[in-house]
């Protein structure tokens, strides 16, 4: 058999890396903001406990970590978050698959899911407190309600939009019944499922903190409340900083990496 080389594979050009100048600009901007903040705080227009300087926030942050209150708070919140998110993922994936599978479920349950998404999840807290009492389960319930619907909807969407040609090709090659799920339907829906899980995670994070602020449990929300009660705004801002950093880290490290892998595989363009 002849072996003539054909055109080399077409690899789409990767977008150029951001130039270092962007990072310089960003660093300068952040430093300017911090400097302005420090100057305003030291000007004496407002008392310290209302508007602390960034240096004080930094000290509070260091103290919080040194005394161990922040690590305890972080572990408490993250533990609850992960527990709620895992429950939401299992329920959301199953619900999404069921809705994609059965038209009547989509028409009935799907409507309910859509409607309930209009409700900010923290609105479940009064009910949850009634149902579960003053227990951590009440917050867990709010977290689950916050993220389960987004995950279910994205799963349903991804599965329903699986290109029929993949299913035909797979069946023609011998895939039968249940095999279609792990080998075709779920992988084909993965991009959509990942963005649903990412959305679900950020909803869970928001719901958790809203819940912790309204109902005290050892956690980041509780640290915020304590800061307010002690009139210690430096502590409040330090905890806010911790919350921002945790949110960014999970978004970039966990979901960012997952999304990039899927996009590279499928050859989808980066936004």
């Amino acid at each position: 058999m002849s072996s003539r080389p054909e055109a080399s594979p077409h690899v789409p050009p990767r977008p150029a890396r951001r130039s270092p100048r962007v990072w310089v600009r960003r660093a300068v901007f952040l430093l300017a903001v911090l400097a302005l903040w420090e100057i305003l705080a030291r000007s004496g227009w407002w008392p310290d406990y209302i508007f602390p300087a960034p240096s004080e926030v930094l000290l509070a942050l260091a103290a919080g970590f040194q005394q161990g209150t922040y690590p305890v708070g972080i572990m408490g919140s993250l533990g609850r978050l992960i527990e709620g998110y895992l429950i939401a993922t299992v329920i959301g994936l199953s619900l999404g698959l069921l809705m994609a599978q059965q038209r009547w479920l989509k028409e009935t349950l799907g409507m309910l899911v859509m409607g309930l998404q209009a409700l900010p999840s923290i609105c479940w807290l009064p009910l949850a407190l009634l149902w579960f009492g003053l227990n951590p389960e009440a917050i867990l319930f709010v977290v689950v309600m916050g993220s389960v619907l987004a995950i279910a909807q994205a799963t349903e969407d991804g599965v329903r939009n699986t290109a029929p040609i993949y299913l035909r090709a797979a069946r023609n090659l011998g895939a039968r019944g249940w095999q279609l799920y792990p080998y075709v339907i779920l992988p084909a829906a993965l991009p959509s499922i990942i963005s649903g899980m990412k959305l679900g995670w950020s909803f869970a994070w928001r719901s958790l903190l809203a819940g912790e602020l309204l109902y005290a449990l050892p956690g980041l929300g509780n640290l915020l409340l304590m800061g307010r009660e002690l009139n210690d705004m430096a502590q409040v801002m330090a905890v806010m900083l911790v919350i921002i950093v945790l949110g960014l880290l999970t978004d970039q490290l966990v979901f960012g990496v997952l999304e990039r892998r899927v996009r590279d595989r499928w050859g989808l363009l980066r936004r």
Partner: protein
């Protein structure tokens, strides 16, 4: 290796219900393909050729009529008759070699056995360096080669090809004509190849079956008794293609020979 099998299409009609009434895609198609024959079906776009292939593959059922494989009626789709889609239909979440292995994995073959077949097929379609590539990194011709390897991996008795080279440039297409002829001469599988390019049909087929515009009926059935391997520029090919094109004069969607 699987023995090639014969196909028999008996009085097949295909009607699709649409919003504006019924659409008849195929009308009273009867066709017999002996084991090991390479048949090309040609006709204008929308003449129901693709529907016929889907029916042969068992992916769709005829509205009336019957399809027999070695005398047995076709019920549903199975890997003994593999269809190569126009768009290759490779799975973008799998690397090239995992695409080729797909059918073997569905048969729960061991990893070692799968890898051995995949290696052999990658070599056959000249894509060994691309075993780990992602689908989007391949050119159109390479995608169709992977699709061919994926189909051959399950060792079908009958190969069904739906305009697989339609979207390729002329050079790549001719190269794949050579390769497909060589594969067929070596493996002797029954092939039904659908195209709207008359010359392609004459180069590849033992027989060229001509379809009318919708609803598709068989207008003519030409034997191609030319020595292989054939090439698209052979004068005999051009001459026969001209005669077959005459059959199709009324339908304008056919690429002129």
């Amino acid at each position: 290796m699987q023995q090639p099998r014969g196909l028999q299409v008996i009085n097949v009609d295909k009607v699709y219900p649409t919003r504006s009434g019924n659409l008849q895609a195929l009308a009273r198609i009867s066709l017999t393909v002996p084991p090991g024959e390479f048949v090309c079906a040609i006709g204008p776009s929308g003449c129901g050729k693709t529907s016929l292939l889907y029916i042969l593959a068992g992916l769709e059922m005829p509205t009336s009529g019957q399809v027999l494989v070695d005398g047995q009626p076709v019920a549903g789709t199975e890997p003994s008759r593999v269809l190569l889609f126009q768009e290759a239909a490779l799975f973008p979440w799998l690397a090239v070699e995992d695409n080729i292995e797909f059918g073997l994995k569905m048969k729960s073959l061991s990893r070692a056995a799968r890898r051995a077949t995949t290696q052999r097929l990658l070599q056959m379609v000249h894509l060994e360096p691309f075993a780990d590539a992602w689908v989007h990194e391949l050119s159109g011709g390479m995608k169709q080669r992977v699709a061919l390897a994926r189909a051959l991996a399950v060792d079908p008795a009958i190969l069904l090809l739906d305009e697989p080279f339609g979207a390729l440039d002329a050079i790549t297409r001719e190269l794949l004509h050579d390769e497909l002829q060589e594969l067929w001469m070596r493996m002797g599988k029954t092939i039904v190849f659908v195209t709207h390019n008359v010359r392609e049909a004459v180069v590849l087929g033992d027989r060229v079956v001509v379809f009318s515009p919708r609803p598709g009926r068989i207008l003519a059935d030409h034997r191609v008794d030319l020595p292989r391997p054939r090439h698209i520029d052979d004068p005999d090919i051009a001459e026969l293609a001209r005669r077959i094109s005459a059959d199709l004069l009324l339908s304008q969607d056919v690429e002129p020979a």
